[in-house]
Point group: C2
């Protein structure tokens, strides 16, 4: 099987490393010549270039661009492809991609491998990035079962644990465990730096330790990623934030009313339930 990868950054590059190592013919396309050169040097791909025509003989193409470029990338490769070619993507939101991408190309399979590091670009590509990472395939009713099988097989080849759901269910789940944490974590940093007393902020900065460090990590990350989550998963994120806020009201009420039994119940429950997520 001849595989194409568009976008040779952390995700596309890491996928290429594993597939090339496993003996696949991998054709990489990037807008930048330096990225193509580096991808060849690092053995991320077997062929690399800036021209989309290179993809004309591929069986399966992974679109590994940032989410806002996925649809226009598909549009631009279509003139070069034969109809049997399968296209998939790696976007972290599926509702905004699955349906319009399928309209552009009926042999499209929406997917989302949940892997990453704090680094970006071709230099960040690493072997085994997907090992044991969850990967969600979110087909539409009309998505070809054969195409789903082929895409799933490649993700399993690089070590992913596969899940299937509707695009909507995927977006609701990631709103809860990925996008909501970014917003509440960012709001922690924001609140700690905007409280009225400079004295308090200064001492807080001196005293912050591992608890603050962990809770603030995703909120202090790449601002473009946070913006993308809000733009592309807006409604599900708003729903999660609103529920979060209502629950926070109850928690604050329990403290204000010194209802220590209610607060104990909440904290015991969260202590018991966290292991179900990790």
């Amino acid at each position: 099987m001849k595989i194409g990868i568009i976008g040779l950054g952390l995700i596309g590059g890491s996928l290429g490393l594993d597939l090339t190592a496993k003996g696949y013919e991998v054709i990489g396309v990037s807008r930048k010549k330096e990225t193509c050169d580096r991808a060849l040097e690092k053995q991320i791909v077997t062929t690399a270039g800036q021209n989309l025509e290179l993809l004309s003989k591929t069986d399966l193409i992974f679109v590994c661009t940032p989410i806002e470029a996925i649809l226009r990338t598909i549009e631009s490769i279509i003139p070069h492809l034969s109809p049997e070619t399968i296209i998939t993507d790696v976007g972290s939101v599926k509702g905004a991609i699955a349906s319009p991408a399928t309209k552009l190309w009926s042999n499209f399979v929406p997917s989302h491998p949940m892997a990453g590091t704090a680094n970006q670009g071709v230099e960040a590509a690493e072997y085994n990035l997907f090992n044991n990472a969850p990967c969600v395939i979110t087909p539409l009713p009309q998505t070809s079962p054969l195409a789903i099988t082929k895409v799933s097989h490649i993700w399993e080849t690089v070590g992913c644990r596969l899940y299937q759901s509707t695009p909507e269910l995927h977006d609701r789940a990631v709103a809860w465990i990925s996008h909501l944490p970014v917003m509440i974590s960012a709001n922690l940093i924001y609140s700690c730096t905007h409280t009225s007393s400079p004295e308090v902020i200064k001492l807080a900065q001196a005293l912050a330790s591992s608890g603050f460090k962990d809770t603030s990590r995703v909120g202090g990350g790449n601002p473009e990623l946070g913006l993308m989550m809000a733009q592309y998963n807006r409604q599900q994120l708003i729903n999660s934030l609103r529920e979060y806020q209502q629950n926070l009201d109850l928690l604050i009420e329990s403290i204000e009313g010194e209802n220590w039994e209610a607060l104990t119940n909440i904290l015991q429950e969260t202590h018991q339930n966290r292991p179900n997520f990790i």
Copy 2:
């Protein structure tokens, strides 16, 4: 200098290990005989016992009990002490301790070393726990400068970075960077397990990865610690939670109104400001 430690768990035990290793005479008191035996075996102390009378000849006593036991522990040792003996504590809230403890014993110095691990008890005691950890001394106007100097010296001996503030300023700062994170993190776990769709919860649990893991860590910790923070630092914690909630409203408004410039500003600011805390 002869040092007493009451409570030989993670904090008291680790302090004893370092001080004994540095050649101090360390007298440890615990309610349990097994703890005393273990503390001697592990060279946490040079003398150990269950009887508070053992402390009668000490120069400086560290009360390392849970916060709710600090005041009654001080009351119970007073009959055995000479007036020059200095008492200090390690409680993580200072407003509820500094003033009543000073009324009980004028030679009292409130302190809070900010160190810890996820473990508890004498077996959790470890060398160098305090190395480079912040320690806040929160004296009252009437606290003896000599006593402050002596207590500060011991904390510096085990590697702490020392800070001084009022008890109120301390409690406001730790509400922001320690107690608020616990509550917003717990509320994340609570919200993710209480949303209405079992299907969403199941997929969310399967997909949760490092972002959720880090953001939920302190909220899934020991429920008694979270309760203690709320009980002993109630007003400051409520103030922080209310400000947090108002800021969250603004963040949600920016997403609802698709005011991407406002959201970008927030996320860029948190990205820039996080390093000031860690």
